[in-house]
Symmetry: C2
Subunit: 346 residues, 2 copies
C-alpha cells in the first residue's frame, strides 16, 4: 500500500437539520484528511464497519438530550469496528479487531482505554453481529426488557419497531421468558418475518391496519409490558390497553425525532395513573458495566439457536448519510450497518 491510498475519508456534520427535515444527506460534508499519526499509547485503527442508529439523528440536532450533540464541523459520531494497522499501545497488536466509537471515517488514532471490546478474529459469527445482537443493540433489548419491563411468564408484551434491530431481539427474549409477544412493524415482509421466522404470537402492520383495533384483538388479556421504540400514536394505542401495574420501558421515540416543534405527549397519559403504570426511560449507556452479563446470555441463546438476527449492510462510507435516512422511513431490514472497508484488503 502506498501513502497515496491512505486517505482518511470523513463525514462531518455541516449543519443541524431542521426539525421537520428527513433529508439527512444535506447536512453532512464528505471530505478528506491525512491519516493520523499515532502517538505513544495509541493505535491506528482502520474502520471496517460503521453502525447506524436512530439516536444519531438526535446527536445531529441541538435538542436537549442524553449526551452532548455532535458539534457542527466535527466528524459525525458513530460506533465502529476496525482493524489495528499500526500500534504503539500496550495490548493492541497489528491485526487486532477492535470495537469502539470512532465515527464516520476511515481511520482513527485510538488509545486502548477507548476500546469497547476486542473481538475474536476466529469466531464463527460474523463481525457485524457484534454491532447488533452481540453488542449494544442486544444489551439494549436485554436490559430494557428484563430490568425495566420485568416480564413474567404468561404476560403480554408489546414491542414497537418490532422488526428493527432492538425490537426483534426484545420479542425473541420475551418468547424465551414465556410471554405472549405482539409486535408492531411496518409492512407485510417485516410482519411475516417476526411472526413466521422469529415466532412472535402476533404481528400488526401499522401501514395497513388500524393499530388500536388490531392491538386490542391481539391482546385479549390486555398488555403487561410495552417495549417502546416509537412513541406517538403507537404508544397511545398500547396505553389504552395496559393492565394494572403494567411497565413501559421507554427505549426510543423515533416517531418524533424529526418532528417540527413541540410534540404532545400521549393522550392516554392518564392511564399511567388509573392503571398504576410504571413508565421508565433508559439509555443503554447506563448499563455498560453489566454488558458481560447480557452478552453471555445472548451468546448462549444464539448458540442454542433460540435467537436470530439480520443485518442490513450498506456498502461504502460514501453512502452513510443516505443510509441513515432509511431508519426514519423503516426501509432497513434488521440492524443497519455501513461496510467501510474489507478486512482482507487492508
Amino acid at each position: 500500500m502506498t501513502m497515496a491510498n491512505r486517505i482518511n475519508r470523513q463525514w462531518r456534520l455541516a449543519a443541524r437539520p431542521d426539525r421537520d427535515s428527513g433529508a439527512e444527506v444535506d447536512h453532512f460534508d464528505f471530505g478528506q484528511a491525512p491519516v493520523p499519526n499515532i502517538a505513544d499509547g495509541e493505535a491506528l485503527v482502520r474502520t471496517l464497519y460503521l453502525s447506524l442508529d436512530p439516536t444519531q439523528r438526535l446527536w445531529m440536532s441541538d435538542m436537549d438530550q442524553y449526551m452532548a450533540p455532535v458539534a457542527v464541523g466535527d466528524v459525525m459520531r458513530g460506533g465502529t469496528i476496525g482493524v489495528v494497522e499500526e500500534s504503539r499501545a500496550d495490548g493492541l497488536a497489528v491485526g487486532d479487531i477492535v470495537q469502539g466509537f470512532w465515527g464516520w471515517q476511515d481511520y482513527a488514532a485510538v488509545e486502548a482505554a477507548s476500546l469497547r471490546a476486542k473481538l475474536p478474529a476466529d469466531d464463527d459469527v460474523p463481525l457485524v453481529a457484534y454491532m447488533g445482537l452481540l453488542g449494544a443493540i442486544g444489551c439494549t433489548a436485554y436490559f430494557g426488557l428484563l430490568d425495566i419491563g420485568q416480564p413474567k411468564p404468561g404476560e403480554t408484551v408489546v414491542v414497537t419497531a418490532a422488526a428493527g434491530a432492538v425490537g426483534s431481539v426484545v420479542g425473541q427474549i420475551a418468547k424465551i421468558k414465556g410471554c405472549r409477544v405482539v409486535g408492531i412493524a411496518g409492512g407485510p415482509e417485516k410482519c411475516a418475518w417476526i411472526k413466521d421466522t422469529l415466532g412472535f404470537d402476533a404481528a400488526i402492520d401499522y401501514h395497513a391496519e388500524d393499530v388500536p383495533t388490531a392491538l386490542a384483538a391481539a391482546c385479549p388479556d390486555g398488555i403487561d409490558v410495552v417495549f417502546e421504540n416509537v412513541g406517538g400514536d403507537l404508544l397511545d394505542a398500547s396505553l389504552a390497553l395496559v393492565n394494572l401495574n403494567a411497565r413501559i420501558a421507554l427505549c426510543g421515540l423515533i416517531a418524533q425525532y424529526n418532528a417540527a416543534g413541540p410534540v404532545p405527549g400521549p393522550t392516554m397519559f392518564h392511564n399511567i395513573l388509573m392503571k398504576r403504570v410504571r413508565v421508565e426511560g433508559f439509555i443503554i449507556l447506563d448499563f455498560m458495566a453489566r454488558f458481560p452479563e447480557a452478552l453471555a446470555a445472548l451468546r448462549g441463546w444464539l448458540d442454542d439457536g433460540r435467537l436470530q438476527y439480520r443485518v442490513d449492510v450498506v456498502d461504502g462510507l460514501e453512502n452513510a448519510p443516505q443510509a441513515l435516512g432509511k431508519l426514519f422511513v423503516g426501509a432497513n431490514k434488521g440492524k443497519l450497518v455501513v461496510k467501510v472497508g474489507d478486512l482482507a484488503t487492508a
Copy 2:
C-alpha cells in the same frame, strides 16, 4: 329521639356530568329514605363527617378509571366518620366512633368488616384529622413521596396543589427528609401558608407567575422528585427541569378531570427518555395493608410538632355538591370535609 327525626337524607347521582361541566351541583338529587333497619351482624352508623376528594369527580363520570364509577341513581360514594347508634355486630358498641366508606347520607347499616378503622373517642386530635393527615390523605402523601418518589437528603422535590390536603403533607415530609421543597399553589394566601407556616423553601403562585420561569428560578439544581397532583402545564414545567433519574409520583391529574374530550399528554414527555425518568402512577388503595406504618410515622411527627394540617369544614350535608366544586377551582383551604351531624346531639 322520635322516629320522625330519623330521616336518612341522601345525595344520589342523578346524571353523569358532561366532561366540560364544572357544575357538580346539577348532577345530584337530594332525597330522603327511611333509616335502615339493621340485621344481625350490622350496626347503624350515623354520619358525622363526609370527606370530599377530587377523585369523587372521577366516580361521577363513566371514564375508564381505577374502580367502578358510581351508578346513576345510587347514593354517592364517599369516605365518612360516624357514630354507632344501634348495634347487632360483635365488637361494635353504641357510641363507638367509626370510619368507613358509607357515602353521602345520614345513616348506613354497616358490617364490622366494612370498617376502615375504629377511632379513639378520647384523643387529643379532632376527628376530622382522621380524614386528613391521619387518614388516607396522610398515607397518600407518605407512600407516594417515600415509596414512589424516594427522595434523598439534599434533593429538590416539587409538589403541585401544594396547599391541598395531600400536597401540604408531602412538602412537610420532604422537609423532614432533608430535601429542598418547592410548592406550586394558587393564590398568595396559599403560597404564604406553605412557605411561612409549613416551611417550604419556595412557593410559586400559578395564578400570578409564569410557572416555567419561576420554577427554573426556584430549582437552581434541577428537579429530582415531582409529586404530581395536577398534570397539564404544571407537569410540563417540571418535566422540562428534571435531573437524570428523576422520579415522578403521579398521584392526580385534577387539571383534566373536568376536560371535554381527549387531553394531550405532556409536551416534554420525551424527557422521560432523555433523562431516564421513572414515572409511576399510584392509588392509595394499593397501600392499605401498610397504613399502620404510615399512620404511626405521621402521628409521631404530628405529636412532635413537625407536621401541620388544616381542614376546611363545610356545614351541612345539603351543601355537599356545591362544596365538591370548590376542589376544582382551588377554593378550599386544606382538607375539604362536610360536617353532617354533631356527635353530642345524637
